[in-house]
Amino acid sequence: MVYDDTFTAEFYEKLMRNRMTLRMRTAEGMAGGRKSNAKGSSVEFSDFREYIPGDDIRRIDWNAYGRFEKLFVKLFMEEKEGVFRIYLDSSASMDFGTEPKSRHAKRMAATYGYNVLQNQDRVILNVLSGDKIVQNLNVMGRQGFSKLIDALAATRYTEATDMLAAIRSSDIKSKGVSIVISDFYTNDLEDILKYLTAKKQEIILIQVLTKWETDPDMSGSLNLVDAENGENRRITASGALFKSYKKQYTAFIENIDKLSKKYSARLIRVIDGV
């Protein structure tokens, strides 16, 4: 298990203490620990139905045949695994703040991963960088958590990310839950949501921001440098500038809220870890 600034003992303690249940609907995928809407071959009885040719004759309930003189087959619960895809934005913009957004993003990913793995579900960690997925970790079972933590700890936040292109590059073949962790400084959010929805994903958006981004504090003539692409803009800090920024920020947040509702995505906004 990795212990560093992100994954501290305190973090692990909290993680163990607090469990959360992630609801999802599954009907396909590999057999797993999650009850499925589909009927399957588990030992847990679900229902009866009349025999139709082709059914496994081993599942005919002979006692029922004795009483009703009709062939019934026993239906059992199908246990499927849940597939949780975590898309972690590793753009440089995430590495901002006195306590960087990346730390909160990793912790969120680890928390979700831990809970998913506890439920015997599958976690696929996709670390997005540039226009592709730079790390793809597919783990299941409790032993997978250690791998997940290792992968998260090794994640570096360096360049700009084209989230849409990167997410599209992931090969989504089954229904599942897609958790996208980012600051969402992109104009492609709607396209991302469209894509994931089309791939029959339940979507959880985790927006990670810092307090500074909601209420910037600076003074004088400054050359603002974009952490991702090095672009710069000269500004002179003033009340009017901050007012204008706040207006822009509010519009940005409202747009994400609106898109979340539109595509039935759950939105969790984390500001400075809260």
């Binding site: 003539s221 400054l222 952490a227 991702e228 710069n232 003033s238 500038l241 920024y245």
Partner: protein, 597 residues
């Protein structure tokens, strides 16, 4: 509002230098942000993409530019004028009379101070303003007419010379008034120590009057004691506030202007009074004399008074009459120093010569060309060929330097008063019934009526008039006046000489002919007119006008469209100090901003 100097405006370019320096200096601190995503839209309005926009919010640079501009304005010497020296045309009148030679402020005379103020005014005028410069004393002189060339105007003002003349700015204002209406928007600025009415003219008067410590010699006359000695009497006035004791000196004045002290007396004069100083039995070798006081006071011009030595000499008068005229004879007899000889025959008349005055009374026709040429002439009730007509039973009006009264006569010849002569009696039709003056190089008096045909001899005005006329006509001096003020014109009547010369107090000799008018009388002192012999040499003097000795407080009449201001102040509020104070405040504000940043 105006400025003294224009050239400092070029220094405004320094502001451009500051901007360039700031552009070069622009090095904003780098500030890393997670993304410029949110700033993008905002940049359209808030970022400074263009170089000059980068300067938009730089308060320090703005303050520095403002400070530079304020200092440039301060260098330009801005001021606010409260006087009326505003207009498209400004007429400057400067009083150059003798009183303006009084000490004023800062070891300057009133005129020097006035000239400086006028120069300041000219500098302060807009470039398009037309400036006219006029000097004024007993007469006005347009030194410079309606020029926008400020340097020429300043040069003209600098070139104005102090005179010893009387007068004030009245003549200047008259001249300005004549020019005034020619301009649409004219203003008059008068620099003087004596109030002058400017009427409705848009005018400012700068007042240089004030109390001065001054003493002066008011008059000097000499009396021939008949024993080659003279008595000289001088009046010395103390115009100051304190009693003074000063030395009063008597000088002989020579032709080259040199003076030799003959006698001296100390005299104590109480404040505001005049003391008479008498030099008894002094021997005077020269025809010119002067009395001076050793006073180092505020006005030097009146410290010496010049006079001609008066030599007792009887004048002979020949009266040629065909009728008894005892009123006339008695009137002439009242004049001291006159010997009257009467004849009623042509023989008695023709034998006489060297008379100062020949009087022709009631002789019918008189041929002026046949009468003696060596003296002056008075013609009473005779036909001379000068008449233009006759009038009967008329009431004549006398209104001249000899008095104001009326005379009723039965019959009189009437004349057109010759040019340069003075009418003694006027008819209702504006003709003259007698005149006095000069004709053909001799003094002449013509009275058009017989004294028997009027009640005039019975009035008190008759002997007074006759006394004055005899005094005038028996004066054989070749000049019409011997005691003059600076700038006066003297008429020369040379008897028996075609040409002579006048030597002024500086020893400059000027040739004159009879009937010439000699006007080079600016210099105070004795002027010597050379005659045929030393006996016929004549001295006339030019003295300081005692009215100019004590020009103190200006008396105004509060009428008219005029501002009266104290000289030296010039009605100009200099804004330089205020603007420099503003610049200092700006620097302090800039320093505060700098510290805060």
């Amino acid at each position: 509002m105006g400025v003294t100097l224009i050239w400092p405006i070029a220094l405004s370019l320094l502001a451009g230098g500051v901007i360039v320096m700031y552009l070069l200096k622009q090095h904003a601190e780098e500030f890393k942000v997670p993304s410029l995503f949110l700033w993008t839209e905002m940049y359209k309005n808030q970022t400074a993409d263009k170089p000059w926009e980068k300067l938009k919010k730089n308060i320090l640079m703005i303050l520095e530019i403002i400070t530079i501009l304020v200092l440039v304005v301060a260098l330009m010497g801005p001021y606010v004028k409260s006087g009326k020296g505003n207009g498209s045309t400004v007429m400057i009148i400067i009083d150059t009379s003798a009183s303006m030679d009084s000490n004023y402020k800062n070891a300057e005379t009133r005129l020097e101070s006035a000239k400086k103020d006028a120069e300041k005014l000219i500098k302060s005028l807009p470039a398009t303003t037309l400036v006219t410069v006029i000097t004024s004393n007993t007469e006005a002189n347009v030194v410079l007419s309606a020029t926008s060339d400020k340097l020429a105007a300043i040069s003209a003002v600098k070139g104005i010379q102090q005179t010893q003349r009387s007068g004030n700015c009245e003549e200047g204002v008259k001249t300005a008034r004549a020019l005034y209406n020619a301009y649409k928007d004219a203003a008059l600025v008068v620099y003087t120590d004596t109030y002058v009415s400017t009427g409705k003219l848009n005018a400012s008067i700068y007042d240089y009057s004030g109390n001065i410590n001054n003493a002066g010699v008011n008059y000097v006359f000499s009396d021939d004691n008949g024993d080659d000695t003279f008595t000289v009497v001088a009046g010395v006035t103390n115009y100051g506030k304190d009693d003074i004791t000063i030395a009063t000196d008597l000088y002989e004045v020579y032709e080259n202007g040199e003076k030799k002290m003959v006698a001296t007396q100390d005299v104590t004069i109480t404040a505001g009074s005049t003391s008479q100083v008498v030099f008894q039995d002094v021997v005077l070798e020269t025809m010119g004399l002067a009395v001076g006081i050793g006073s180092n006071d505020d006005l030097a011009g009146d410290n010496m008074f010049f006079a001609a030595r008066k030599v007792k000499k009887d004048a002979e008068v020949l009266l040629y009459t065909k009728s008894n005229n005892s009123f006339l004879e008695k009137a002439i007899g009242l004049v001291s120093g006159v010997t009257l000889t009467r004849t009623n025959t042509a023989d008695g008349f023709m034998g006489k010569q060297d008379c100062a005055l020949y009087i022709f009374d009631c002789l019918g026709d008189v041929d002026i060309s046949s009468i003696p040429v060596d003296g002056n002439i008075m013609i009473i009730g005779c036909k001379t060929g000068l008449e233009s007509g006759t009038e009967e039973n008329v009431l004549l009006t006398a209104e001249n330097s000899y008095g104001i009264y009326t005379v009723a006569v039965n019959k009189t010849f009437t004349y057109v008063t010759p040019q340069g002569n003075e009418s003694l009696f006027n008819t209702d039709e504006g003709m003259s019934a007698g005149f006095v003056g000069e004709l053909a190089g001799r003094k002449i008096c013509v009275i058009g009526f017989d004294l028997h045909q009027t009640d005039f001899p019975l009035t008190i005005n008759f002997p007074i008039l006759m006394y004055d006329l005899i005094m005038r006509l028996t004066d054989t001096s070749p000049v019409d006046k011997t005691d003059m003020l600076a700038g006066d014109i003297v008429k020369v009547s040379l008897s028996g000489l075609n040409e002579s010369s006048i030597i002024d107090p500086k020893g400059k000799k000027t040739k004159v002919q009879t009937l010439d008018k000699y006007s080079s009388t600016e210099e105070l002192g004795c002027y010597f007119l050379k005659g045929i012999t030393e006996d016929t040499d004549t001295v006339f003097t030019v003295n300081f006008d005692c009215n100019e000795s004590n020009v103190s407080a200006m008396v105004t009449d509060a009428s008219g469209n005029v501002d009266i201001k104290t000289g030296g102040g010039n009605g100009i509020l200099n804004l330089r100090a205020i603007i420099i104070a503003i610049a200092v405040v700006l620097l302090i504000v800039e320093w505060i901003f700098y510290i805060r940043q």
